[in-house]
Symmetry: C2
Subunit: 338 residues, 2 copies
Amino acid sequence: MQKRVGLKELARRLKVDVSTVSRALRDDPRVKPDTRKAVQALAQRLDYRPNAAARALRVGQSGRVAVLLSPPQQRFASPIFLELLSTLDQDLRDTGRTLAVFAARTRDEEAEIVRQIIDEGLADALVLGRTRAGDPRVRFLLERGAPFVTMGKTDWPDRHPWVEIDYAHAGRIALGALAETAAGPLHVLAAPEGLNFADNYVAGALAEARALGLSPPQVWRIEMTEAAGEATAAEILARAPRPALACIQDSLAFGAYRAAAQAGCVVGRDLTVFGGQNFPGSEHMAPPLSTFSTEDAAIARLLSAVMLRRLARDGSEGPFETHLVRPEPLPRQSHFLA
Amino acid sequence: MQKRVGLKELARRLKVDVSTVSRALRDDPRVKPDTRKAVQALAQRLDYRPNAAARALRVGQSGRVAVLLSPPQQRFASPIFLELLSTLDQDLRDTGRTLAVFAARTRDEEAEIVRQIIDEGLADALVLGRTRAGDPRVRFLLERGAPFVTMGKTDWPDRHPWVEIDYAHAGRIALGALAETAAGPLHVLAAPEGLNFADNYVAGALAEARALGLSPPQVWRIEMTEAAGEATAAEILARAPRPALACIQDSLAFGAYRAAAQAGCVVGRDLTVFGGQNFPGSEHMAPPLSTFSTEDAAIARLLSAVMLRRLARDGSEGPFETHLVRPEPLPRQSHFLA
DNA sequence: GCCAGAAATACAAACGATTGTATTGACGCA
DNA sequence: TGCGTCAATACAATCGTTTGTATTTCTGGC
């Protein structure tokens, strides 16, 4: 385990000052081309690697971008996260940055973690998911002036870049599709109140019901887990025959399928289901789950690009980049009574 | 955006030296209890946060643990990763550490990234997945003496902690189960050669075939993506009727289901399939996919715990912690001809 | 009241890079 | 020859902690 070679070592060997070495490596025009070549050659030969901590301390930037994983993070957490992490890290590495990941246990803990990230210098910028009304994380970041990108609009939509998936649209479509053949009560299964995307979904569904002249569907605000979906669906099935379930995410729909199986019911006959986010496997289910395509890879690339552009912005003014992405309905067979 | 408060600021206000402040905050017995109280109180009041970069530079440790995401990372990447990231970050934060994530584009790039992580001080320790024969990442880390934990055994099984899932066992079980009712040729769909877990799976399947007195199944070494699984299954279906497919991971089985649908075939009648890793949704498929339960949450907790214990080890000798986890078969309906 | 020894604190040097400024030397020109 | 200029490099401070050592301030025993 030989000692790591640093600028000092290079300087010593070349009989120049560390400052010259440092500048040579960063292609500063002030160093003579010959010297620059020599320095770079030696650095290459000795496999010199700059110390990240030292650099971070000096320049006051960690060179890291953090992604905050919102609870619940389980095997059912949106597949998009992994895609996002992977795309983001690859893009970041191209600009000499690295990726940090933080996973809050509860929603309340998230704000505290964000504060810690910024104040301890654990990262320079953040990607936030699942925005909420009056999001304390966003409020804090704006206050501190730290760069960040959100998945989902916030209460300050023109003060930071964001990428929003149009859940209101999904809610409208799903409810409309279910209503067409529904023979029983309509239900909306969405994430807890206050989460923007869920509020939008519910609003879209309610609006569509109103537009169709239907009595408003019952809305269930539950955790986005298969277990919660199962419990809720079980309760719904016990109440009235032939319910129709608009589920904000496939995880909930998976739960509904399981509840149906437990109750001896068949999706497409005894109940109808519309999902969301097109989880792996949903197309092979019995019956194939109607859902929405969210193009995980494309959204990951978009978010990553938005973050990079945000980071590249020198203090310039101008408006921030925003994107509203419309999920594509993927009607399969679970949403209508056969 | 007021200036961050540092040790200096605390020291100035309390009229003591920064060294005293530093020691007080770390509960060093050398500082008088009164002073300690005062310092901690003020730190609390001013919401002092230590600068991570400065600390890292001084102590020569980044305080970060890296997870290396192996390609391909897509929406089908094992659900375990997200679970692992989440569990690991939560555990790490309890010990004042943070999590970094690196995603290689190709398998070859992984070794280079590992080198960068260690030599630039981007992390102190690593979690590696998908070990290979003669794994260059492991070789490098051993050389540098950096702590790491692998998912999967390596060629140096007693020089670092590891957690291995017994894929040989899965291969045996899957092949045996398929063989019972198979009416056509047996196939094994596994990840590329050299990947330890895949080699083990294939070995297990071949051994089982031999034990049953069967002619050896055809082995396909392909990327672990739904697309690759689909292409391979399509080719198999075109060759001979009623094949039986042992798929190392559900992603491949998903592909097989899709290929079957394309070819107008029905799983359980025209072909049989056994998967692995119990991806979300697999239980609701038509027919429900026979697979193996990998208990993602439990494995994530185990890996995380092993990493923490590895980090807690002062230079002490003694053997490293190793775990062989046996995946539980989850026979459902896709593996036998009805 | 003095002194040894301990307790508490202060001083100062790191860690490894970046960066503002000073210094050196070479050259051209009057 | 002398001087201003510019290129090239060296010097030195700095980022915010941690930590080894020196110094000061107590304390108790005589």
